[in-house]
Structures are given as C-alpha cells and as structure tokens.
C-alpha cells in the first residue's frame, strides 16, 4: 500500500479509529492490532513475501531469547552468526544473487574466458533491506548486552513489521522502538497535531516536488545523449530534489503516522541540502542508515581510532557498503566510493566533525553549502544512472559548450508548466526548511494556516495522473 494512494487514505483513519477507540483497553490488543494492520499494509503489495518477514521475526526472536540465556562467548557468537546468516542470506539471495552471477560472468569474460551461469527471475521484496537491518540491530544489541530480549513475540513481530516504517524506514533500533511496544501509549494533542502536519508536509514533498521533478528526470536520464549540457545540469539538480522529496517525504509520512499511534520514530533527514561539507551531509541524510552503519560496522572496524591508513580504510568500507546496500549495481558502489573520496580529505585535515549542530549561516557558509550541494548532485548522477557508462557519459557531457541551452523545459506548454511547478515547489520547501533550520528545529513545523496552504499546493500542483513509486521501495 502506498502512502500516496486512496487505499492508504482509507486505511489510516480506519486504523486510527480502531486503535484509539476500539482496541484501546489493552496494550496487548493494541499491539496485536498494529501487527495485523502492518501485515495487511504489506500484504496489499504482495502477500507472498509476508512469509519472509515472519521468518526473519521468528528466527531473531528465538535467537534473541537464546542469546540472553547463553553465557558462553562461543555459543553466543554462533547464535549471532546464525542470525546474520539467515537475515543476510535472505537479503543476499533476493537482492544480490543476480548481481554476483552477472559480475562473475563478466569478470571472466573480460579475461577471455566464457563462463556459464544463469540468473534467476527474482522479485525484490519491498523494504527487505530496511526490516532486515532492523531485526539485525535487535540480535546484535542483545549480543552486545545493550538490550534485553523481548518477552513477547507479538511485541517483537509488531516492532519488525510496524507499518509506518516497514518498507522504507526510518530503520529503527530495537533499543528505541521496541520498548515503546511495552509501554502504555497515551494520545497527546501536540503529538497528534505534529504527526498530522508532518504527513501533509511529507505528501507535499512526494506528490508535488518528487513526482513533478520525475517527469523531466526520467526523460533526461533515459536518453541523456539527446540533451544539452544545460539540460543535463538541470536534470541532475531536479533529481537531487526528486530523491530528497521522495525519500524524506516518505520518512516524514512514516514519522507522522507513527505519532498518530503514539510512537516516536527517529529523525531521518535534517535539512541535508544545507550541509556545509560532506561530513555534515551524512549527519543529515538518511540518518537512520548512516548511524546504523556507524554503530554496527564502522565502530567495530575501529572507527576513527588507529592509524590514518586504518581510518581511511574504515571510511572507504563504510561508504562502499552503504552504497551497495542501496542496490545491486556498480553505480551504487561508485556512488558510495565517490562520497568516500569527498569525505577522506575532511578526515585527513580533521574537519569531518566540524559544523555539528550549528544553525548560523554566514556568507562563507553559503558558498560551502553551494559547493557541497553541487558535489552531492554530481554523486546523484551515479545513483540515478542505469550503468556506469551512462553515468560517466552524463558527467562528461556536463561540460559541453551548450551550457545555456535548456529548450526541454519550454518546449511545450505542459513542460513549461511542470517546470514552473517544480521550481515553485522546491523554492517553497527551501523557504520552510530555512526557517526551521535557523530555529534549530529537527523538522518543518506547520500550523493551521500553512497546513491549509500546503494542502492546497498538494491538490493544485500534485502529479496525480502520473504518480511514481517511492524510489527507496526498490532498496
């Protein structure tokens, strides 16, 4: 079920009413209800893959239980490995099997040796990367003795499948979300109101910004050789806003929805395009994933401790793995490596932790924000392109002599209109975000008046006839 669908428009109020007015007498009943609602939400897309969520849930629940009862380090390690094997095995099969077979055959063929191998027609289950990482955090934290295992399978299953963030995050840590299933939830006006407005804000970013930008982005990236350097630049910039509107819009709707049910999810995006350097960007972009990798991969590798060489190695690993998490394609790996290359100089001059939590923007900062944004946008070309060859060609064409040609956007009345809508909506978003940024808020806060204005924008500027799927569903 998509957040921007009519089904969800019926599903959400219905669940809200049942949750607070029918099953509100018992916490257990509320959790069972959330579990059922979450399975309905996911099953709406493809019920067959519910078995994968159920498998991951059952395996990690029992492994978590066994881990807490084991004192022997070797047994605990074996149990953790079993959890990693099952979860990453399922993820690896569904997401990476074809990639590895293809890459294997291509690598040998480069050496002149023809290898036989067959790829499978595998459908990637929506959200598999998200809930796999979520369940892994549970077993790893129990292994590290940072978390007590859940004593209720229902609570744990509801935590794994919690519908607001099941398919595209935020990737919640068991330490944050799981205890919330054991506590009585009280509805507060402030929480409900902020949830409602966050949903509206998220819808605006998805339906107005992302889906309108997608109209041009798809045309340009599907046939980049037909466009001028100016059009390619605008295409890349529009993709930067498309992916931000799409993904952060989803996160906002997820967080807002969770608030309506009395849950508090972590902030996933904190105005990333106001970042003053790449380190700052990664503290603001997909925070739930970057902190997951930091805590479960980077720090165990040694983090920023040890020799410079080790630090550089760790940074490279973390960015490349993060890129690979996004998809089974070399483009994502290069995207990760590109960010590592941008980050390493900051690490070497020890500026990677600068600008943490600053909200002041000086004139110099404007320049730094601009440079960071341009670099991030160039990185997005690898993220969006279908292959490395296309991405490289695209980037090379950015320096063409036809930099000031952008006829695509004025070619027809429709193009002109959609381009104007895209620019207006991006500007609108940035103005709201600047206001929140300088006030050191974690999110945009709307009130009745601005909420009605944004809702009007959604209805009058939304791309309803050509809605595109959330980009991060494919991950």
């Amino acid at each position: 079920m998509l957040f921007n669908s009519l089904e969800f428009l019926i599903f959400l109020p219905l669940c809200f009413i049942l949750y607070w007015f029918v099953v509100n007498r018992s916490l257990k009943l509320q959790n069972v209800f959330i579990l059922v609602a979450s399975y309905v939400f996911y099953g709406w897309w493809d019920y067959r893959f519910l078995s994968l969520i159920a498998l991951s849930t059952v395996v990690d629940y029992f492994i978590g239980d066994l881990l807490s009862k084991q004192d022997s380090t070797s047994s605990r390690k074996r149990l953790l490995l079993a959890s990693l094997f099952v979860n990453l095995g399922v993820l690896g099969f569904f997401k990476y099997y074809n990639f590895f077979v293809d890459s294997w055959i291509k690598a040998w063929s480069e050496l002149g040796i023809e290898m036989q191998g067959s790829t499978l027609n595998i459908i990637l289950p929506v959200g598999i990367s998200f809930y796999t990482f979520q369940t892994l955090s549970y077993t790893i934290d129990i292994y590290r003795k940072k978390l007590e295992p859940s004593n209720s399978l229902v609570n744990f299953a509801a935590y794994v499948a919690f519908f607001p963030q099941l398919v595209a995050g935020p990737i919640e840590r068991a330490t944050n979300l799981l205890p919330q299933f054991s506590r009585k939830r009280n509805f507060t006006f402030e929480q409900g109101k902020s949830g409602l407005y966050l949903i509206i804000w998220g819808l605006f970013k998805k339906v107005v910004i992302a889906d309108n930008c997608a109209f041009f982005v798809n045309q340009i990236f599907n046939n980049h050789t037909a466009y001028s350097a100016g059009e390619l630049w605008i295409g890349a910039l529009l993709f930067a806003f498309q992916i931000y509107g799409d993904f952060s819009g989803y996160s906002d709707i997820a967080i807002g929805t969770a608030r309506l049910f009395g849950f508090d999810l972590m902030t996933n995006f904190k105005f990333p395009y106001f970042s003053k350097n790449i380190g700052d960007f990664w503290r603001r972009w997909h925070i739930s994933l970057s902190t997951w990798f930091r805590d479960y991969v980077y720090i165990p590798l040694g983090g920023s401790k040890g020799s410079v060489w080790k630090q550089v190695r760790n940074v490279c690993i973390i960015f490349i793995v993060s890129g690979f998490w996004h998809g089974a394609n070399w483009t994502f790996i290069v995207w990760g490596a590109f960010h590592a290359l941008l980050f390493i100089p900051l690490l070497l001059i020890k500026r990677n932790r600068s600008d943490v939590n600053t909200t002041r923007i000086s004139l110099l900062d404007v320049g730094r924000i601009f440079i960071t944004f341009v670099l991030v946008t160039i990185g997005w070309i690898y993220f969006r392109a279908d292959s490395l060859t296309i991405a490289n060609e695209y980037i090379m064409s950015l320096v063409g002599s036809d930099l000031f040609e952008a006829r695509l956007f004025i070619k027809t009345n429709k193009n002109l209109l959609l381009f104007a809508i895209s620019l207006f909506s991006i500007l609108c978003m940035l103005l709201f975000e600047i206001r929140a940024y300088v006030k050191a808020r974690a999110e945009v806060q709307l009130n009745m008046l601005s909420g009605v204005f944004i809702l009007l924008c959604i209805f009058l500027m939304g791309a309803f006839k050509d809605p595109s799927q959330f980009i991060y569903f494919q991950f």
């Binding site: 509805f187 006006f189 409900g192 409602l196 009745m448 009605v452 009007l456 209805f459 009058l460 939304g462």
Partner: protein
C-alpha cells in the same frame, strides 16, 4: 483526543472550503471562456443555425476543414470534434451542442473502424473538458455510465469539484488562470473549430500494400448518436477519413456513408498513418465538399 479531533475537523473543513472555492472559480472561468471546445461550443454557437457540424476525434478535427468546405459549398458548418476521444464522447458532445442551443441540419460523424467495433467503450482521454458542466445531468450521467477511475473522479466532481480539478490540475486549474485573464483564448483550434497537423511529420514508408479493414458496428454509442439525431431531426452522415495504406470495407446500412479511407495514397499528404497533414486536409476537404453537396 477531543481537542485533536476538533482540530482535525476544523483543518479539514477549512481546507475543504478553500479547495471548493478555488475549484468553483476555476470551473467558472473556464465555463465563461473559449478555451476548450465544449466551452467554445456553449458560448458561441447558441441560436446559430448551421448546415452541418463535423463530430469526431483527432481525425475529425484535422481532416475536414469547415472553413474550406464552407467556401466550396456555400454552406455553413462548424467542427465540434475533440482530439483523443471516442464515440462515447462524441455522443456527449452532440448532447452538449444541442442542450446549449446549437442546431444543425446534418451531422458528419467521423468514425474509425476500431472505435465502431468497440463493444465495451470506456472514458476518453479528454472527457475532463466537460467538467465545467459536471452539474448538468447529461454530463454527469455520461460519467456514471463508464467504468473507470477517471470516470468516477469526474462523477463525484458534480458535488466536489476539487476532486476533478485536482486530478486534472494541469489540464483544468492552470488553463483556468489563463482563461480568467484572456477568456477568448482557444486551445489548439481555430474559430471554425479546426486544427491542422504540419506538413513536416514523419515520412511514411511507401511500399506498404493496401490493408483491408472491415466495418463492424458494435459500439452502443453509435445507436445513441443515431437516435439523438433522429429526435432532433439532424441528418446523420458517416464519414470515414483517409487511412494510409488501408481501405475500409463495409457500409452503415441506410445511413449515408462517405468512405474516403483510400482517397489519399501519397504518403507526403499524411502526418502519420491515420492523420492527414495540411496538404492532405485540403485534398480530403475538397473531396468531401463535392460529396456534401449531393447528400
């Protein structure tokens, strides 16, 4: 919770009122304009006695030039065709034309074999252009009859116009802004209702043998159009426009049938396989004008 529910109801009510108001205004300005064909027909053809009207989809819009036909026959005609439509919409347009005071002696119905053979018609791509008249019974019942998401959206727009205006925001809301400023602007048709494709379309392959297409009428809207013409004493003439490399075989029973499917064989007179270009339109209109005199 009570406070939240009060807040959410107030919010929804405020948003609903704002959206309804914007949508009402949007449809009002469109209704008063000449922007789309239904508005142009309603605002300019009232009480005008026409000799003939041409009704069809894009082929009707671009094949028969009513200005040229009028010059060659001395008759008075108008093209009420809308591109990207089918017989269902033609029926709606004919009702719209009549209900808004239009009158004609003959109706030239421009058909295609595929549309005539479609026994299960659905909504057409440009039916939303009738949304400013969604409150009229004949328009609403057209949407009620058709099974699709778009038809449902247009149907509920009778009471909640913001639904249709939002869904078709690029096609209705923004044009309405233009219509409010320049109410006489027309969207891709001339003052006689015609549109023409340029002569620099894609070149068609010359070597194709003539394909034979048979005419089968199973589309229920054909009978409805016929009945409406009978009721209003309009003579129905069925016109098959040129199709490149094809010949349509068959007849329309007792109705006059002008079959020009194989009239033009020169690919340079076509914009694409089913649409003639500017030069082709001259040839097709001239040939039709000769026939119209004798009908």
């Amino acid at each position: 919770m009570k406070k939240f529910l009060k807040h959410i109801i107030t919010f929804i009510f405020a948003a609903f009122i704002a959206l309804q108001l914007v949508s009402f205004l949007s449809l009002y300005f469109l209704r008063k304009s000449h922007f789309y064909k239904p508005q142009y027909v309603a605002n300019t053809l009232r009480d005008v006695q026409l000799d003939y009207v041409v009704l069809g989809s894009s082929t009707g819009l671009t094949t028969l030039n009513t200005e040229q036909i009028d010059n060659e026959t001395g008759l008075k005609g108008f093209n009420i065709s809308i591109d990207d439509t089918s017989l269902g919409t033609h029926y709606l347009m004919l009702q719209h034309f009549i209900k808004n005071g239009g009158s004609a002696r003959s109706l030239v119905l421009v058909v295609s074999p595929g549309d005539l053979a479609n026994g299960d018609p659905s909504i057409s791509g440009n039916d939303y252009r009738f949304l400013p008249y969604a409150h009229k019974r004949y328009v609403n019942s057209h949407f009620v009859d058709l099974p699709s998401k778009e038809a449902a959206i247009l149907k509920v727009s009778k009471y909640m116009p913001f639904v249709g205006v939002s869904y078709y925001n690029a096609e209705l809301f923004y044009p309405s802004l233009k219509a409010a400023i320049e109410p006489t602007t027309r969207n891709r048709f001339d003052k006689k209702g015609n549109y023409v494709y340029p002569t620099n379309g894609k070149a068609l392959e010359k070597t194709k043998p003539t394909k034979e297409l048979s005419l089968t009428i199973t589309n229920p809207y054909f009978e409805k159009i016929k009945a409406l013409c009978d009721t209003n004493q309009i003579k129905l003439v069925v016109y098959q426009p040129p199709i490149y490399g094809s010949k349509v075989l068959g007849d329309t029973g007792l109705l006059p049938f002008v079959n020009h499917s194989d009239l033009i064989t020169d690919p340079l007179l076509f914009y694409d396989r089913i649409h003639v270009n500017r030069k082709g339109r001259v040839a097709a209109s001239r040939a039709f004008a000769l026939q119209l005199k004798n009908l």
